[in-house]
């Protein structure tokens, strides 16, 4: 793993007596995409808000680029960009005014401001809207303005708290294109939270959070490997031969009315069975495990998509 840019050790956050985040620890590698996946109230926003110096931690140590988020606030603030869960744009002002203000706050050199505004607005396709007040934009556009603003000072780490909640699928895809492009072009570390399984698939690392705890942390591939099975749905004209071979190879299966459902735990063995039966097989489908299955497997519940409590 490359140098960790975010380090969290034994972080706990209490609101009064309520423990929202319970002693979590994790690292995020520089230049990677890290996703926090979890249902409502898991403690995702609490962690982001604390990492970006807005909330005070209760216990633990949180470092960004080696700097302590509760003691070296200004150094940390200079090196991060944040898109909060709820919009923090200045609605009375235009897009341009919002971006300029942000540049002043982050000491972007005066001579570069114009160029950077053009660059980020181009990135999120909002060039023609530059002089419109934020209150006149749609929800998706507002979100894109916020992402643009979070990037304009070239942060080392970009925090995105549910960047795509409430966006239509097309805009969601767009936002993701921008995010991935950025991560590649500028080597920015991206820390995001989401309810959407398919979005977490883009990440290099996923931490699944529930009730204030990290219950699993790995790459999406690793998680699926550990917690889910790939399944094959096979229709064959010679069921007895197929079943014999499966049993012989030690592969679990279930016979259904029209097909056999096979747990593909070992690709080599499964391929062997398939090749032996290839003349009899009339239909087949392979389903990969999803992060949803991972969550289901660990907690026994599904993450409700959409995010409404």
């Amino acid at each position: 793993m490359t140098r960790p840019i975010i380090q969290v050790k034994n972080f706990t956050k209490r609101y009064g007596s309520f423990e929202a985040v319970k002693n979590i620890s994790f690292d995020v590698a520089e230049g990677s995409i890290f996703a926090f996946l979890g249902p409502n109230g898991a403690g995702k926003s609490t962690t982001i808000n604390t990492l970006c110096t807005i909330f005070e931690k209760t216990e633990g140590q949180l470092l960004i680029d080696g700097k302590d988020v509760s003691r070296e606030k200004n150094a940390v603030r200079q090196s991060i960009g944040v898109v909060f869960q709820d919009s923090t744009l200045d609605k009375k002002m235009t897009i341009e005014e919002n971006l300029k203000m942000h540049c002043v706050f982050y000491k972007v050199p005066r001579a570069e401001i114009e160029e950077r505004i053009n660059f980020v607005l181009d990135l999120v396709d909002l060039k023609e809207w530059r002089r419109k007040p934020v209150s006149a934009l749609s929800g998706g556009m507002t979100r894109r303005v916020e992402i643009a603003r979070g990037l304009i000072h070239y942060p080392k780490v970009l925090f995105l708290d549910e960047p795509t909640t409430g966006l239509d699928p097309q805009t969601r895809n767009h936002v993701w294109e921008y995010v991935l492009r950025l991560q590649k072009e500028k080597n920015i570390t991206i820390f995001l939270t989401t309810h959407y399984m398919d979005e977490a698939e883009h990440a290099d690392d996923v931490a699944i959070m529930d009730h204030g705890k990290i219950i699993a942390h790995d790459s999406p591939f690793g998680l699926k490997k550990q917690y889910t099975k790939d399944r094959a749905y096979i229709t064959t004209s010679n069921a007895p031969k197929f079943e014999d071979l499966l049993t012989q190879q030690g592969l679990n299966f279930e016979k259904r009315e029209r097909y056999h459902r096979v747990d593909v735990e070992d690709n080599a063995k499964f391929l062997y069975v398939l090749s032996e039966c290839r003349v009899d097989i009339t239909d087949m489908e392979l389903r990969k495990g999803t992060l949803n299955d991972v969550f289901l497997d660990i907690t026994g519940r599904e993450i409700r998509e959409g995010g409404n409590a």
């Binding site: 956050k13 609101y15 609490t46 808000n49 970006c52 110096t53 807005i54 909330f55 005070e56 200004n74 150094a75 603030r77 200079q78 991060i80 944040v82 909060f84 709820d86 919009s87 923090t88 744009l89 200045d90 609605k91 009375k92 002002m93 005014e97 300029k100 203000m101 942000h102 002043v104 706050f105 982050y106 000491k107 603003r149 409404n308 409590a309």
Partner: protein
Amino acid sequence: MAVIKALCIRNLKAFWRNKPALIFNMILPFFFIFVFSSIFAGAIAMMLAGIIIATSFDSGLRVSSSTIDDMTSGFMKEVLVSPVSRFTIAVGQFVSSAIIGSVQGLLIYIIGVIIFPDIRPNSPLTVILVIASMAFVGLIFAGFGLLLASKSKNMQTFQALSMALTMPMTFISGAYIPLFSLPVPLQWVGRFNPMTYAVHFFRDVAIVSGDEIMKYTLAREQEVLQFWGLNITPTVSVLILVVFGAVFLFLSTMTFTRIDFSKMNRNIMDAVEMWS
């Protein structure tokens, strides 16, 4: 410096773009002038001075109510997550308040002079002093307002608090009704009201020499304002305000820099959750 300038420009733009509030705030003072001048006939100059300074006081508070707005609308979060120190932000809000306070006061002064030509200033120095005083009052009460805002943390509490405080503060200050004409207990309240001293010194600054009613009012007010034999001259009033302002600017900056956002906005979020 760049940040303070940017905040001021932003606040001025917000002030200017909020047209309904702008118009209302320009009309209200004249409504007061006409109502009270029919009661205290001939005392236009005195009335106008009181009303102008009450306007600056109001703008001071209004900038802080826009701070509350910014906190609840989320924009303050963007400001506070930036590497700008909270102290600078507080100063930016104070300076904006001083500017808006004097701009608004000045507009009313100009309109007032056009409608009532006999109160026009007799020297450029008066004009400069008038503007400086309005900025001074706007600044001081911005400190007071920001303290209220940081303490109340949401719009409802802030509105209730500021209503409960600003009404008596403007009415028991001599701005509209001279203190000497109020019952003695209210005169006592007036003595502990910082606005009283703002009104007191501003009248002395703004008033055309030779206005008899004004001279009379000032003399009578001065009698009321005596504190155990100590004579409160307009200069003493300015000193009192400086002390009051210093205390409030200090306290509000301290409170503002220490706001913990995880303790904020809960009731607003609850309200949102209730409807979603």
